[in-house]
């Protein structure tokens, strides 16, 4: 793959390097913890609850304050504004008030001249607790009826009737595992107090506006006095959507009180101990199938472990319910969801946002059905996949338009030689005592849009200078996903300017206000449209100027390309973009424009559980093969073939990176990432030595990714599609492959029982059961 250089002009729909690639590899790329600090900057550290649930009997910071180098100590009472940072519901204190509700809840903050001083300060805090009984599981919360919010319901058809007619009934309970984000850059913020009570925050957040709002509330000032700026994020994955706020607000609290800049950076242990994870779910299900493997009726009750506060959990539960159908038509559905409140750090957004948990339920059910019916699980999936009307409506009554699933079945399975390999594997297994292989196919359908409709908007502010160079501001944050690279491609195409003449500015609430988080895979859809709209405005302002310079009519078609504005009918007649820009300035035409975009037509009514929550669906398919050692339970993913629908990809090299990275992150969730807490609710696995995300050798050496061609999506920027989250769920193919291999180890009579994550231990347990 020969990549174009920054001066090659328009990059749209062509492979391109990452916009920051060069700065990443030279160390020039700065993250908040790398910033040269303003003189007098203090560092801060947090004092954490050692109890999962307790009443605070006594707190005293005097001894801590007398530690050399400590400049300030804060408890809840020291917050002048609102001591609350709950993003949706006002139920999350910045600093603990009367009680603590999880191990790792922040009780105190110290600010000092050095991290050594801060550690000593934290050690000198005097806080006494009266422990209370904690609830540490979904089952604990359920038993105590401790829920957050009401039941969430989606109902379609007559479940009882469908279930009654079914020839095969499958019932069970699935526990989906939690997952630590393990962004490589831990949470960090630098707060710089400015004149007139203002505060400038450098934060590693996916949601600068929320940081702005919460900092303002905590300080008791107007939003206009706070600017939140994000240069880049060292990985977010949802973990910095709502939960970067606390670190930023704490830094701001200390900065205001001391009137000095304050940096708060969490070391890995602290970050992992106090931040929320992917929600673990419990799913109790009943599914009815006919003799041919068609799903007739499905009843699922989902319980999500929300942790101790609401955070984003209601929306996550919604998305889980919206994805209980997976890629399949469910004639009769009864989906119920409930959030359980536990004494654990508040679980939060994580790539897929409940979608993976929902899909894992239906795909587990289909795997069990295939095993029961002695059918190929891929065939069961084909029979149930969304198809033409009437098998094209979701349980929440949205039509599945532009359905790519048939193409995925028809193109990926033959390309990956699925049927032949499955046969070869079964022959191999029949002749192999200890080593077993398996293959699995996973189709993905993922709804694109924030399910909270008002979040589906974005703004941009594009500035053209008189030398023809451009600055682009937009609402999205760059966390590695390549958003800025895509924006660069869009802007370059719209203005016809080489990418080397365009600079993507750091994301700042003073450039584009009232923004949505960069989340829900929406970054390029929303911000791309907003940038396009700003560029269109600018082009329209420049056309009369250029037309006059070229001596043609304003109505003559002009093209903006290769740094030139030229007459479409006679490209030799042109002026440089810089000349046109300068002429526009001379003519007193404004060279800065805003752009705005709001996704049309989406709505959802929670009361009826129906609507069109998604603007469109993204699709993908994966075939994975595994080789398992039946003596140790160890295994390797030997080959993966992916065909993914990224629409008419804006930048295919970036989308490929999202697909590969998403798949491996999903693989981690389902296999090696084994989050453990002790009986008191303390996280045991608090660093990469004990919490194992996939490493280099876990990625298959045969890893083939192809983008679905001829798949332009109407109504989306340049026919592209969102790609951040959907590939994550392709990794469920590995679980299907593992189950296939286990079928070759014996037949327990009751089907494969594989608990997740599928660590070697879990796999060996399942194999042992198969053999019994």
């Amino acid at each position: 793959m020969k990549l174009p250089s920054p001066d090659d002009g328009a990059l749209l729909h062509r492979p391109s390097p990452h916009e920051s690639g060069r700065r990443h590899v030279t160390g020039e790329a700065l993250y908040v913890d790398d910033f040269p600090l303003p003189p007098g900057t203090l560092v801060a550290a947090v004092g954490l609850s050692p109890h999962a649930h307790a009443r605070i009997r006594h707190r005293d910071g005097a001894a801590a304050l007398s530690v050399p180098g400590i400049r300030a100590v804060f408890f809840a009472a020291d917050v002048r504004g609102d001591n609350c940072i709950g993003p949706i519901v006002h139920d999350e204190p910045l600093l603990a008030e009367e009680t603590v509700n999880c191990v790792g809840q922040v009780v105190a903050l110290v600010a000092g001249e050095s991290s050594t001083a801060c550690r000593a300060g934290i050690a000198a805090l005097q806080i006494a607790y009266d422990p209370l009984a904690p609830r540490l599981s979904i089952e604990d919360a359920h038993a105590a009826s401790d829920f957050i919010g009401p039941y969430h319901l989606i109902n379609r058809g007559d479940f009882a009737e469908g279930y009654r007619r079914a020839t095969h009934r499958i019932e069970g309970t699935l526990h989906t595992p939690p997952q630590e984000h393990f962004y490589l850059e831990t949470q960090v913020a630098l707060a710089i107090p400015l004149e007139d009570g203002a505060m400038h925050i450098h934060s590693s957040t996916q949601h600068p506006t929320e940081v702005q709002h919460m900092v303002a509330r905590v300080l008791g000032i107007g939003y206009h006095r706070v600017v939140c700026e994000v240069n880049r994020i060292g990985g977010g994955f949802g973990g910095k959507e709502s939960q970067a706020t606390q670190v930023a607000a704490l830094a701001a609290l200390a900065a205001r009180a001391t009137n000095r800049p304050v940096k708060l950076w969490l070391d890995r242990d602290t970050d992992m101990a106090i931040t929320g994870k992917r929600h673990p779910f419990r799913a109790d299900y009943r599914a009815g199938f006919d003799a041919d493997g068609h799903l007739l009726a499905l009843d699922v009750v989902l319980y999500a472990d929300a942790g101790w506060t609401t955070d984003l959990s209601p929306a996550i539960l919604d998305r889980a319910l919206f994805h209980l159908d997976g890629a399949y038509f469910v004639p009769a559905a009864r989906f119920t969801g409930r959030l359980c409140r536990t004494n654990l750090p508040s679980n939060t957004a994580f790539r897929g946002f409940g979608g993976p948990q929902g899909m894992l339920v239906i795909d587990t059910i289909l795997n069990r059905a295939a095993e029961r019916l002695q059918m190929d699980p891929a065939e069961v999936r084909r029979r149930n996949a969304y198809a033409d009307a009437p098998r094209n409506r979701t349980p929440y009554d949205q039509e599945v338009r532009y359905n790519r699933l048939p193409r995925l079945f028809d193109e990926l399975l033959p390309a990956a030689r699925y049927a032949g390999r499955r046969q070869a594997i079964e022959a191999f297994n029949a002749g192999s005592t200890y080593v077993k292989r398996g293959i699995g196919f996973q189709p993905v359908k993922f709804g694109i849009s924030f399910t909270k409709s008002m979040l589906n908007q974005a703004g941009a502010y594009v500035l053209v200078f008189t030398d023809g160079t451009v600055q682009v501001n937009h609402a999205g944050t760059e966390m590695g996903q390549g958003l800025h690279t895509k924006i660069l491609a869009i802007c370059s195409a719209e203005l016809g300017v080489a990418t080397g003449a365009i600079r993507i500015m750091s994301t700042s609430t003073e450039k584009v206000p009232n923004t949505s988080p960069t989340a829900a895979s929406s970054g390029s859809d929303l911000n791309g449209q907003a940038v396009q709209s700003a560029c269109t405005t600018l082009r329209h302002r420049l056309i009369p100027i250029a037309a006059a310079m070229l001596g043609v009519e304003e109505t003559d078609e002009l093209t903006f390309a290769s740094g030139l504005v030229s007459l479409a009918a006679d490209p030799a007649r042109s002026r440089t973009f810089a000349e046109v820009a300068n002429a526009a300035w001379m003519a007193r035409i404004p060279l800065a424009a805003t752009g705005y975009y709001a996704t049309p037509g989406i709505h959802f009514d929670p009361a009826t559980g129906t609507g069109e929550p998604f603007y469109y669906f993204a699709f993908g398919g994966a075939v994975a093969e595994v080789e398992v050692c039946s003596l140790t339970g160890q295994y390797r993913v030997t080959r993966v073939d992916i065909l993914h629908d990224a629409g008419n990809s804006l930048v295919p090299s970036i989308d490929r990176g999202q697909i590969e990275g998403g798949f491996i992150q999903g693989l981690g969730w389902l296999t090696t990432e084994d989050l453990r807490r002790d009986p008191a609710g303390r996280l045991i696995t608090r660093g990469p030595s004990t919490y194992k995300i996939p490493s280099f050798g876990d990625a298959p050496t045969e890893f083939f990714v192809r983008l679905l061609d001829r798949a332009a999506q109407p109504g989306v920027i340049h026919g592209s599609k969102a790609v951040g989250e959907p590939p994550f769920m392709l990794a469920i193919s590995v679980i299907t492959a593992l189950r296939h291999s286990m079928r070759a180890c014996g037949d327990s009579g009751s089907g494969v029982e594989l608990s997740l994550p599928a660590t070697p231990e879990s796999v060996l347990r399942a194999i042992t059961r198969q053999r019994s």
Binding site: M1, P17, H18, G21, R22, R23, H24, V25, G27, A29, L30, D33, D34, Y183, L184, E185, I233, G234, G235, D267, R268, T433, Y434, V435, G480, G482, V626, V628, C629, L631, T632, R636, I654, R656, G657, E660, G661, G662, I664, Q665, T672, D674, G687, P688, S689, T690, K692, I693, S695, F696, G697, D698, A699, T701, F703, P760, E761, L764, R765, T768
Partner: protein
């Protein structure tokens, strides 16, 4: 008072103020303003802090080595050249490994990237790294990336591995450097003392004078106390400059490894000739760790899940201990006296480890089972050796496990069941039952007692199966299991 002298990106640094307990990572970031290397974990597991230092091959030839700067104490840099990601470009032109990383889109968020680039840099100048998938995995397994899924990084690695010119402006100065180490160092700052004597006698004198000073060689374990528990050691005695402790030798019947030999050197020396050791070292840890971790360190930390001990127990390793009073030999079997406790006396240093060559009638292997294949702590590790005499009779059995008890230890009851009986599946199956007499493993976050016991049993059975075809079986390049049963019936 000596100051530390070393190069960072070709700039000579003389440092006399930084505490010897300062890690190289903190020094680079906090005192030199070089923020390319990142702190992602401070425990040597993520690799975002990876830098390249000048080191030397066992033969004394200078070469580049990737290390975790988060576990590398500043005085260890004395006499070396250190390269960080900021020091690779020349006149605005990126180094070939940087260009490859950009071209393959090996960075997304970019936070792990400086470390990845430095591991690629080492790979670029390695001359023993062909496109061998096992070696490629080993080269990069110490660099976690949460974004890319590694496929592009593998592509970059394949592109640049082994392509470096020995005399270019990175490798040239390193290869022209005088051998590192060998120079005695006494460095004191901030009231803390770091001594790295140049002879064993000096080291023993220091230890005799101050028996409570902490001994360090590579620092991969000890530094965790600095980065995680925030300890500061008032006195550190480094053994890494003692030539006697860095020797590798082989005579008619044994290998001899100095206690301060890095595991990477042992791996290189024994790779093709000693499969049990090679199998264990392959999955011992990352390249960065194996460059610094030493055989003596791994044995003397006495961790119940130290990976060197089980295989060395099975191979019948012997230790040589020295103090000012004299020398003594100790079978490795007698080193561990309890959880994290050894038979080393105050003032005593482990100087070298002797591993007998495998007799012709031996079948031997080594195993490691963990949640993740690479760079993980064992749930169970094992070393197994049997000797088969005439009539297929087992004349000797040495079956050792880690992770099964408070110390790495041999399964003596199992061995008793084996010796004198024929080497058959039935005998092995009977011997397996004796594991319950030898071990009562625990439940923890790495594995349950059930899993540990089941795997221990299965490894012994697997050992029997695996050694049917080859007495000293090796692992395939991309193993799916610690057991190589692909060809077993």
């Amino acid at each position: 008072m000596t100051s530390l002298r070393f190069y960072i990106n070709d700039e000579l640094i003389e440092e006399s103020e930084a505490s010897p307990n300062t890690t190289l990572l903190r020094y680079l970031r906090d005192r030199r303003g070089l923020t390319g290397a990142k702190e992602g974990c401070a425990e040597g597991d993520c690799g975002a802090c990876t830098v390249v230092i000048s080191g030397e091959s066992p033969a004394g030839e200078p070469l580049l080595r990737a290390v975790n700067s988060c576990l590398f104490l500043l005085p260890m840099a004395h006499g070396r050249r250190v390269y960080t990601v900021e020091g690779l470009a020349r006149n605005g032109t990126m180094h070939a490994v940087q260009q490859a990383a950009v071209d393959t889109l090996s960075s997304q968020c970019g936070f792990c990237t400086p470390g990845v680039v430095m591991s690629l840099l080492e790979a670029h100048y390695r001359d023993d790294l062909e496109s061998n998938p096992a070696a490629l995995d080993d080269q990069l397994c110490g660099n976690l990336c949460r974004c890319t899924g590694y496929r592009p990084i593998r592509e970059a690695l394949v592109r640049i591995a082994g392509k470096g010119q020995r005399d270019d402006d990175i490798a040239g100065p390193i290869r022209a450097s005088p051998p590192v180490g060998r120079q005695a160092l006494t460095y004191e700052a901030d009231g803390e003392l770091y001594q790295a004597p140049g002879t064993l006698d000096e080291a023993l004198s220091v230890l005799a004078a101050e028996p409570r000073c902490r001994i360090v060689s590579g620092g991969t374990d000890l530094s965790l106390e600095v980065t995680k528990a925030h300890r500061r050691f008032p006195r550190l005695l480094s053994l890494e400059n003692v030539p006697e402790l860095r020797a590798i030798g082989r005579d008619a019947d044994s290998w001899h490894f100095g206690a301060a030999v890095p595991l990477a050197d042992i791996e290189q020396a024994t790779a093709d000739t000693f499969p049990p050791l090679a199998r264990m070292l392959r999955y011992f840890g990352s390249r960065q760790i194996k460059h610094r971790a030493t055989l003596g360190g791994n044995l003397c930390t006495a961790s119940p899940i130290g990976d060197c001990a089980p295989v060395l127990l099975s191979l019948g390793a012997r230790l040589r201990l020295r103090s000012r009073e004299g020398a003594r030999e100790l079978p490795l079997d007698e080193l561990y006296t309890g959880y994290r406790a050894t038979a080393l006396l105050p003032g005593e240093i482990l100087t070298d480890v002797t591993i007998p060559l495998l007799p012709a009638d031996a079948r031997a292997s080594a195993y490691k089972v963990s949640k993740r294949r690479e760079l993980d702590i064992s749930a169970v590790s094992a070393g197994m050796l049997v000797r088969i005499g005439p009539a297929s009779t087992i004349t000797e059995a040495r079956i050792a496990f880690g992770g099964m008890a408070a110390i790495p230890k041999r399964a003596l009851a199992v061995e008793r069941e084996l010796v004198g009986r024929p080497w058959t599946g039935e005998v092995v199956a009977r011997a397996v039952a004796a594991l319950e007499q030898d071990f009562t493993p625990i439940d923890d976050h790495r594995a349950s007692a059930w899993y540990r016991m089941s795997v221990a049993c299965n490894l012994l059975c697997g050992f029997f199966e695996e050694t049917r075809a080859r007495h000293l079986p090796a692992l395939p390049p991309l193993p799916s299991s610690t057991l190589n049963l692909e060809s077993a019936p």
